[in-house]
Structures are given as structure tokens and as C-alpha cells.
Amino acid sequence: MKTPLHKLNWLNAFKEAAIAGAVTFTLFSVLLGINIYQNSNNDTMIRLRPALLVGFSLFAAALRFCIILKQSLQLQVPAHKKIGWFEKVEPHLQPILVGLMAFFPIIMLGLLGGQASTKWIDNYGIVIMIYIMLGWGLNIVVGLAGLLDLGYVAFYAIGSYTYALLAQHYGFSFWMALPVAGVMAALWGIMLGFPVLRLRGDYLAVVTMAFGEIIRAVAVNWRELTGGGAGINVPKITFFGLPFNANEDGFAAYFGLEFMPIHRSIFLYYVIFTLAIITAIITIKLKKLPIGRAWEALREDEIACRSLGINTRNTKLTAFAIGAMFGGLAGAFFGARQGFLTPESFSFEESVLILATVVFGGMGSLTGVVLASIALFGGMEILREFSFVEQLIGIDPNRLRMLIVGLGMVLMMLWKPRGLISTRTPTVFLKQKKSISGNLVKEGHG
């Protein structure tokens, strides 16, 4: 496959593009090409959408064309020596991202004013921040220790139900319940850890996925405890005892402010921001401690770890426990924000999306998780603003949400198979710190 640079394989690229277009056309002909709807008389009508179908197929063909060309270009460079431009930019990106996260509500407030910015802080800021924290927690298990966990949402659920139940039965406040939720989730992390210690890779993924579903099924069916599908009420977060309402004893009245819902949003944002930053700081510190190095060594080669006297059982269990703990903390926050919990919030789809941020982020990179969360959850949220496109293409883009996410994932993995930040930064160095190309770093086998 030694195609010289000037002899790009155009013919091959055209051929591959044609095939890709034809396959897409066939696969999506029914899905996109035919629209079944009911008219005002409730008759079932069929409408053809040839433009959408052809457009989609052409798009796929063009994509394939670019990929083939890019591949023939790439053959020139020895793959594993390469550190992409994105990784070089990354160190400068970190302070910008932290600054952005720290001042996001203030920036929004300044730009849009008190009314319009509430939506941005609530739907974008807080939501993305929750997923960043979840991504960072899962990153310990998947990114560092290399244990593929598809049921992470279980710990998120355990955290929120812990808070909900403690508040309901024992009158715990959010701040009192928070540590309990973390400990509870960590204990369940260990409980899950024990049976799966011997499992690796796909098998581990399947069992953890089942664990996530079990927790959800318990939440649905144990109606006396959790309220089942009807849900359970959770006391909303207070400002250290001051509720966010328009009453005399509310936060706004106490500080002599005019009541505005945005106070609560900003407070919530900074609570989750603080929790997330604590997660990040602890992760960064752990990475440089023997336990963190053992996690990464475990991902690289478990057998070699054992030959060096590392107790791999305890090492895996601590990874599960600490990862789960952060999930539980985020869960308690989620409960306090929602004020109402149903098991539907903890579906398998959530686990997959959280895992996606870690995989997209790449290599246990904290920055990567932030970028991936912004892209994924910001992107899905922003799609709501594009409902008007329905007039143009005949279908509401929100209904194509998962399709677009899937397409994005495929593109992303083609561009950067090892995630956005595909380099690893060493945890200790003698003379100079140099990033390690992702091609050398293992993904872990379970």
C-alpha cells in the first residue's frame, strides 16, 4: 500500500464512495424515504421524501470519499510517532476551560441578563457539569484502570435515591446526605466489584450493564420504598437552610434581593462545579500516587502487575469504589436539583452516553471529558433550537437526535480513534515531561 503522495487513489475513492452511497440509500430508503403520518381526518397517509434520502446518501458517499483520500495520505506517516495538533493545543486549552467553567453563569448573566440566561445556566451549564462530573468519575474506572463499566448509571441512581430516602424518612438535608450518598455508592461499587473481579473485556461490560439494569428494575418495582414509576419527591436544595422562594424566610428576602429563579440556578451551578472540581483534583492527585499508577499499570498489563506484588483485587476494587463514589455524589446533587426522581432518569442510555464522553475524551484525559461532554450534551440540547428545520427537510431534527449522535460518534472515531486527547501525560519524570502517543497506551481488557 505504498501510494506516493501525488498519486492519490482517486479511482478507488470514487468506487468506495459509490458503494457507500448505494448502501446508505438502501438502508435508509424506508426509514427516511417514506413518511407515514396521519392527516387531519385521521387517515394514514404516505408521503415520499426523495430529497432527504438522496441528500443523506450523497452525504455518506462524500464522507467515504474523504475518508479514503485521508487514509491514502496517512500511509506516508509512521502512525505511532505522531502526536496530533489537537494534543499540542491541549495544555493551553486547560486554563481556558477551567476559567470558562468557573465564570460561565457570570458570563451568561452579563451577556443575556437575568431572564434569558436562566435557561442557559440550567439546561446547558448544570446539565453539562453533571455529565462532566460523571465522566470524570467513570474515567477512573474505564480510563485509568481499564475496566469497561457499562452500568455506571447505577451508582448515580444509588446516590440520588439515598438522598431522597434519607430526606423523606429522617429529614436529612442535602449537605448531610451528600457524604452518605458517596459512601453508599462506594459500598455498592465494591459489591459490584467482587463478582466481576475475574471477568474481562466484553464479559465485564455485560455484567456491569446488567447491574445497571437491576438497580433500575429495583427502583421501578420496589414501590413501597422508591415510589416506583410514579416517582419520589426530593426536597429541593436550600442555601444552607434558606429556601430559594419568594417567601419571607427565603434566600432573596434574607439578603434583601428581589426574588428571581436565577439565584437558585447559579447556586446549583456552583455546587456541581465545586463537586466536579473536587473530583478532578482528587483524580489528578491519585494518578500521581502509587494507587493511581497501579490502576494504569493494571490497564497496561495485569499479569505483570501481579508479578510485581500488586494485589490486583484490591486495586480493582478501589477503582470501582472511588469511581462509584463520585457517581453517587453527582446523583445526590441530581436529586436535589430535580426535586423529583423517577427510575426513567437512570436508563441504560445514560450509562452509554457517560461512557461515550470518556471514550471520546480519550485516554483517561480530564480535558477530553470536558470537551466531549460539551460537544455531546451541549449539542443535543442545542438541537432543540433547530426545530424550524422541520419545514425544510420534513422531519424534526430532534427525532433524529440519536441518529446524529451516532453519526457524530462514527466520524469522531474515524478522525481520532483513540479519542480527542489521545496522548497520555506521564505521572512522574526524571528530566522532562513528554506526552506519550496514544498508540502505545493500552485500552485495558477488563
Partner: protein
Amino acid sequence: MQNWQSDPVLCVEHLTMRFGGLTAVKSLSFDVGRGDITALIGPNGAGKTTVFNCITGFYKPTEGRIGLRHGIIDFDIGKQAATQSSSYVTHSAGGAVYLLERMPDHLIAKQAKVARTFQNIRLFAGMTLIENLMVAQHNALMLASNFTFGGLLGFKTYTTAERAAKEKAAFWLEKIDLLDRADMPAGDLPYGAQRRLEIARAMCTDPVLLCLDEPAAGLNPRESADLNTLLRSIRSDHGTSILLIEHDMSVVMEVSDHVVVLDYGIKISDGTPDFVKSDPKVIAAYLGVDDDELEGAESEVSA
């Protein structure tokens, strides 16, 4: 009397390892002398790696006892006492005897202090050289970091211990001539250097016994000579006994004090290099002589 008879560090007795119907190692007994370089040789598939895996706990032997001695305790009495106890170790004032077949692999490395390398190198490829050597000091550092809590809070004991660990890693990198590549990923090293790094990593666990599975495989003559120097210095400067598997007879004859020969899981010869070299059974096994001829050779020896 030979050193391995008078002052053994490892004593393998009637070791048998079966995989289903296949008996990879059959009633194997041999001793490894303290401070010796002992070579375990034999044709392909003889069961050498299997013996290593039994010693280091990666396989549970089907039958047999593997004793390892620290210090000056009487080996026979120690083994006896440990065997009768429910534990895997007996301590005495001067030392301890471990029964390796009763221990899980990580405790063999941590407590009995047996380190090993692998036939197909197992480095942490995505970690730097120095990180590889730091991971090897995990247990010491873990203790110094108060099982992470002290380390998280930045206690002095941990920072001091970490600095010492880095110095130790640098010492070994210097010794294997890779100090200038300390911050490179291990996966980027050429083959010979990877082999040396794996030995250095094993040495960072401060082993009493170092087991090397074909350390000279794939090395060029110069690297091979350097390896011999390294092995000799490990033995003389660090008091570590070495058990090595080797195919290259010239390496074996040059560095080893004691040679054990395996063929089809059975010990066919055991002695000094000179003794083994002239043993007709060894010659027969290596050159592939027929069984009847071998019997002839055997009677010649006993005559």
C-alpha cells in the same frame, strides 16, 4: 559438596503440573543455591516456563512442594514446620521459609520476594521507563503513603519515600544504560533494551530470587555479552540468586554455576556446566537421538 546442596535458597520437590491429559512437568526436584546463577535448560516444550509459572504462583502445581528460604534458618526443619502448619510460612530468628505452592502470585512477589521476567516481554508499554520502575516499588510506596491517605494529604513520609524510589529507579536505569531515555515510553524501546528494562523492573522489587525467562532471546552478541555482565553484577552486588531459562548454550556455559536440564517435563541432568555439557543424555536430548541409542548411551555412563 556443591553450593546448591549446602546452601540452597529454593528447593523444588516432586513438582508435577498437569494440563488435562498432558503432563508438562513430572516429579521434578532440584535446588537453587544462594548466590548462584542457575540455568534451567531444555528443548522447546520441555516445560521450563511451566516450572517458572509454578514457582511464581501463576499456576497452582498439581503436586509437589516448593520451598523458599530467607536467611539462615535450617531449610529442612523450616519446610517441615511450615508444611505442618496451616500457614504458608514459618519464621525463626534468623530467617523464614515460605511454601510457594500455597501462596497467591502477588504475595510470592511481595513477601517471599521472588521476581520474574516473561518470555514474551510484559512491560507497561504506555508508561515511561521511570514509571515502569516506580510501579515495581508499589508496595513500599503504598505503605509510605499510608495506603493513599497520607499521600493525598501530602505527608512528609511519602514525599521522602517517593524521592528515594525515584533515585532507586534512576540507579537501575543507569545500570542498564537507559538513564537518558528515562522519560520515554517503554513501548518505544528497541527489543534488547526492553529486555534489560524488564530485568531492572524486577530488581526494583528487591528480590531474593530473580527468575528470568529467556533473557538473551533475540539479543545480538554484544547485547548478550552486556547481559552476562549485568547478571554477574546483580549476583555479586545485590546478593540476589538468579534462576534463568536459556536456549543459547554459550550464555549458559559462560555465566551459570549450576545447570538443570529438562526434557518432556523430566529432569535428565543436574550439575555443573561442565558435567552437564558432557552428559550423554543431554547430548541425546539436544541432538534428538533415538531411544534405543539413548539406552546405549545410558549404560555407557553407568558403566
